[in-house]
């Protein structure tokens, strides 16, 4: 894999392509090993994305965020 995927869905799409290619049995040894390496990197990326939304729901209130912004802006001025 040369670049980090843009999104979870892009990573999964590429991962499915890789698995399909491997399942086809058409890939040679070098390609197979490269695809497996890329696939493992994609799995790691996807797992990190899932972990980012798996550590407990966080609830914020827009009005409080706005107040914080206002107070920090006042503090700066």
């Amino acid at each position: 894999m040369t670049d980090k995927p843009d999104s979870y869905e892009a990573a999964v799409e590429r991962l499915e392509e890789i698995i399909d290619r491997l399942d086809s049995g058409q890939a040679g040894l070098r390609e197979t090993l490269e695809l497996c390496k890329e696939g493992r990197e994609l799995v790691t990326f996807c797992a990190a994305e899932l972990d980012a939304v798996g550590a407990g729901l966080k609830e914020l209130r827009l009005d409080e965020l706005a107040e914080k912004l206002d107070s920090s802006a006042r503090a700066e001025s």
Binding site: Y8, L29, T32, C46
Partner: protein, 442 residues
């Protein structure tokens, strides 16, 4: 310039127009004109309601304009509207016609729509207005914009516009939990009841969309009458949603309720629970299981590829040795066969040749037998005859042979005289002599 000024004054004062009339008479004529105009019914929102001792005043307003209205209180009472029915923000249908109060020397004139009937707008009235607005927004292409936005399958942060105390909030959270999603929710609480809520909802949506971390916005409330949900048919709100660059998931009312925000939003859902699934399209629990399967598939593919090729290479490596062994066995077998064949062949040939030789000898003996004896006898006789003519036989009888120095026979006296030395060969040996003639000459 000096000549232009009088012309301008003539145009301004309009000396060619009828009049001048007394303004009071004109005001009365205007009043009569207005009151003769057709009576109609109007629909709009009541704003600025106030009452005097005799009349109620308000403006009837919608997006495109407003008309000042008035109704006599005694007529209003006869209509028996529900308590608080005529209030600011109420959608009403009024019947009446234009009126002009001509004023007096002390009181100011004024235009108003003189209402004689007022009723609260029913679902049919709202649906008609909604239909017109829907056609307009569709014609402007506002229904397609949100649908073209990319929706992330796994957003980290979503914004939600809903009522703080509503059941929709609880249902949405339950939906998110069912997805296994535990990201960040930014709540933008706003009133969600009737038309007056529209500006607050619009502002909340805009504020959420202004936050870069918000990847999707859910707008939701429970079911209700169309009048209850009317804020979500507000033109400004719907235009705002349509133009946002953040996808909006609308879940307003129940399945049978169709508000205008459903048309402009990226996704329209029937319940807050469905809205949670639309805002987070990925089932996180299933996705984790799927990733585990992918990991297993990749590991098997890698290990399998190496193992399969190792087996293949092993087979290839064993191939030459096996081939050699096979060839060696083949050769040994062939050698044995050849040896056996040659032994069989030589024995046969030897016997055959012996038989042939025997046959030939017999044939030769048969062929040569009678002649051979005769030829031997003839040969013996020829040998005897030949021996009788040999010089040695003559010498044995006492003759001598004269020979020259070279051993050549001298057969005449003349030839002997010509030689210096001659040899006489007898049967028992030779004698060298010199011819006398030769000595005389010397």
């Amino acid at each position: 310039m000096g000549e232009a000024k009088p012309t301008q004054e003539r145009l301004d004062t309009g000396p060619e127009l009828p009049g001048p009339f007394a303004v009071g008479r004109y005001a009365r004529k205007l009043e009569e004109e207005m009151r003769r105009r057709a009576r109609v019914s109007l629909i709009g929102e009541v704003t600025g309601l106030s009452k005097s001792r005799t009349q109620a005043y308000f403006e009837l307003r919608d997006q495109e304009g407003a008309v000042p209205c008035a109704i006599w209180l005694n007529e209003l009472e006869k209509l028996e509207l529900p308590e608080g029915g005529l209030r600011d923000g109420a959608e009403v249908v009024i019947g009446g016609g234009p009126d002009y109060y001509r004023g007096s020397g002390q009181s100011s004139p004024g235009f108003s729509f003189r209402a004689t009937h007022i009723r609260l707008a029913g679902e049919g009235d709202l649906l008609a207005r909604l239909d017109a607005l829907r056609k307009q927004l569709r014609a402007e292409g506002l229904f397609e914009l949100q649908g073209q936005l990319a929706r992330p399958v796994l957003p980290r942060t979503i914004g939600v516009v809903t009522a703080e105390a509503g059941a929709a909030r609880r249902d949405l959270l339950a939906g998110l939990q069912r997805r296994g999603w535990e990201g960040t929710v930014i709540w933008a609480f706003a009133p969600v009841q009737d038309r007056r809520a529209a500006p607050a909802i619009t502002a909340a949506i805009q504020d959420l969309a202004a936050r870069p971390q918000v990847e999707a916005i859910v707008v939701t409330r429970g079911g209700g009458s169309l009048a209850d949900l009317w804020a979500f048919c507000d033109e400004t709100l719907c235009r705002t949603v349509a133009m946002l660059r953040v996808p909006v998931v609308a879940a307003v009312g129940h399945e049978r309720d169709t508000t205008l925000i459903d048309d402009v939003a990226a996704v329209a859902c029937s319940t807050p629970t469905h809205a949670a699934e639309a805002a987070v399209p990925l089932d996180c629990g299933a996705a984790r299981l799927s990733l585990e399967r992918c990991t297993t598939a990749l590991r098997r593919a890698a290990e399998g590829a190496v193992a399969a090729r190792a087996r293949h290479l092993g087979a290839l490596a064993r191939g030459p040795a096996r081939a050699l062994r096979r060839e060696r066995l083949f050769l040994n077998q062939k050698t044995r066969e050849v040896r056996a064949a040659s032994e069989r062949g030589l024995g046969g040939r030897h016997a055959l040749q012996s038989r042939v030789a025997l046959v030939l000898r017999r044939a030769a003996r048969r062929a040569a037998g009678p002649e051979l004896a005769g030829r031997r006898e003839a040969l013996r006789r020829a040998e005897i005859a030949f021996r009788a003519h040999e010089p040695e036989r003559t010498l044995e009888r006492g003759y001598a042979l004269a020979e020259g120095p070279g051993g050549e026979p001298l057969t005449s006296a003349e030839a002997a005289r010509a030689e210096r030395d001659i040899s006489l060969r007898f049967a028992d040996g030779s004698l060298d002599v010199k011819p006398a003639a030769a000595d005389d000459d010397r």
